[in-house]
Amino acid sequence: MLRYTIDKLLTAFPLLVLVALGTFGLVFLMPGDAAVTIAGEGASAAQIQTVRQDLGLDQPVLVQFWDWFQGVLVGDFGTSYSYNASVSYLITQRIEVTVSLVVVGLLFASVAGTVIGLFAGLNPGGPFDRVTTLLVTLGLAAPTYWIAIVFIIVFSLQLGWFDATGYVSITESPGGWLHSILLPAAAVSVTSIADVSRQVRATASGVKDLDFVRTGRALGIPRSGILVRHIGRNSGVATITIIGLQVERLIGAAVVIEMLFAMPGFGTLLVNAVLNQDLPVIQISVLLIASVVILTNLAVDISYGLINPKIRTG
């Protein structure tokens, strides 16, 4: 198990360095003089010179990368030009919204996805399976933000259950937080619920017919008991994989949904940064999110080894 874990760590580490190199390299893709672009229109020669020195653009590439990378490692993420504030300050201020959305969304996706998938897979071709299959297909095909708009029309404008915009911090009022997060988190998780339930349905309908499940039922063990114990364990690896994959998808969706619900999150910051060509913010955002995704995949890999000992020796 230890060697398996070390092995996985050894593949994750170069990946992180590579992502860091890539995000750093973004600056070289800028057309023309990056310092001029970043300093913005109408910047004076002195300002451009400052930007150039700040970014270290006058230094050799490897030196630039090393300085930048060292800074990143100790949490010095540089300065945003459009906000005129340190990137780490900007991010810590906004991370709560995005984390809330992704965590609640992941919860929705895993619970709703697993339950729907299990019941559909137990009785393939049944009425429940048919209805959910249709909904899953629609959920995978519809644009996330359109689903969110439909949610707003139905639940905010027509029914008046939720506010269409805004975010309440969990430290301010846990109840208010929940109320403000439910609708956007639901919208964020639709595609993921569809994806998870589709996968769980496939594994569940496959496992259902295996001998030990039939034997269990013949012995009179209650259906739900066999379900949870055996199917849960046997389709566990597949389910964890697919749920792990949702993290990347949920982050992408959260960025869009935050804008739509006017929530002061990471996504909003990022979109403004994109519109203002605020490179330091973009670099750190991409690096941060990619690191989260890589570490999630690492955790998924390691949990395989814990669930299914066979994989370790393989």
């Binding site: 992502v19 890539g22 973004l26 359109w146 708009i149 029309i153 979109v271 994109v274 519109l275 995704v293």
Partner: protein, 265 residues
């Protein structure tokens, strides 16, 4: 078949758009803003009084073209790299796999956004950005497929008649990956539609006055409280288009499965 028919119909609509639009898609009618559906405006008008149906028809071309550009770029990068990595293995394979993994770790929309941020917003830049993000997906399936095909006896047979590696890649490996590639492309086309719509929502996708369905949907969002139904039509159109790509992909996958069984492969 229904899906293929729908795609053909949309293509036709895009080609004859100029003749079938009931109104000028950019003609503003400041007295008839956010009008509900009527005989003259079957889907109503937007916040500038422009006919929504005409704008959707006008946007069909870009909406269809954009994902094809993106997939084209993705294939242009991912296919050759995947084939070379899968066939020759070695350090090139190791490196390109790592790069693909790294690109995979960044959510698609973020990567596209980063590229737009750097190159500036324009329809072409956006779709090239999306193409770069598709490349590792094409790379992965092609590499896996080539790893399997290079073990095939017919590749050994090609080597013994003196075929060069490039010739084998072109004549034996490429045709045998075609099925997988086409299926993957339909998946990516659907994704491309969704990503274009999302980027247009931020105003960093297709640039006005050019209309895509994503742009129309974005515009309608601003009038959400006044005319909620406005947002429904473009959304339905996008969903149908994605569904069509999905079903066409499924259809191709099934027919390829049959062929392979017949060929005993």
């Amino acid at each position: 078949m229904v899906a293929l028919g729908l795609l053909a119909l949309l293509l036709l609509v895009a080609l004859v758009a100029d003749w079938i639009m009931p109104h000028d898609p950019n003609a503003q009618d400041l007295l008839g803003q956010n009008a509900p559906p009527s005989a003259t405006h079957p889907l109503g008008t937007d916040d500038l009084g422009r006919d929504i149906l005409s704008r959707l028809i006008d946007g069909t071309g870009v909406t269809l073209l954009a994902p094809f550009i993106a997939v084209g770029v993705g294939v242009l990068i991912g296919l050759p790299v995947g084939m070379l990595a899968g066939y020759f293995r070695g350090i090139f394979d190791w490196l390109s796999t790592r790069v693909a993994d790294a690109l995979f770790a960044v959510p698609g929309i973020l990567l596209a956004m980063a590229i737009v941020a750097i190159r500036g917003p324009s329809t072409v830049n956006v779709m090239i950005g999306v193409g770069v993000l598709f490349a590792p997906r094409v790379f992965r399936v092609i590499r896996a497929e080539v790893l399997a095909i290079r073990q095939a006896t017919f590749v050994d047979a090609a080597r013994t008649i003196g075929a060069s590696p490039m010739r084998i890649l072109r004549n034996n490996i490429l045709p045998n990956t075609a099925g997988t590639l086409i299926v993957q492309c339909t998946v990516l086309l659907g994704m491309g539609v969704l990503i274009e719509a999302a980027l247009s929502f931020f105003g960093i996708g297709v640039q006005p006055p050019q209309a895509s369905w994503g742009v129309v949907l974005r515009r309608s969002f601003d009038s959400l409280t006044e005319a909620p139904m406005q947002s429904i039509y473009p959304g339905i159109a996008i969903t149908l288009l994605v569904l069509a790509f999905m079903y066409v992909g499924d259809g191709i996958r099934e027919s390829i499965g049959k062929e392979h069984r017949e060929a005993g492969w």
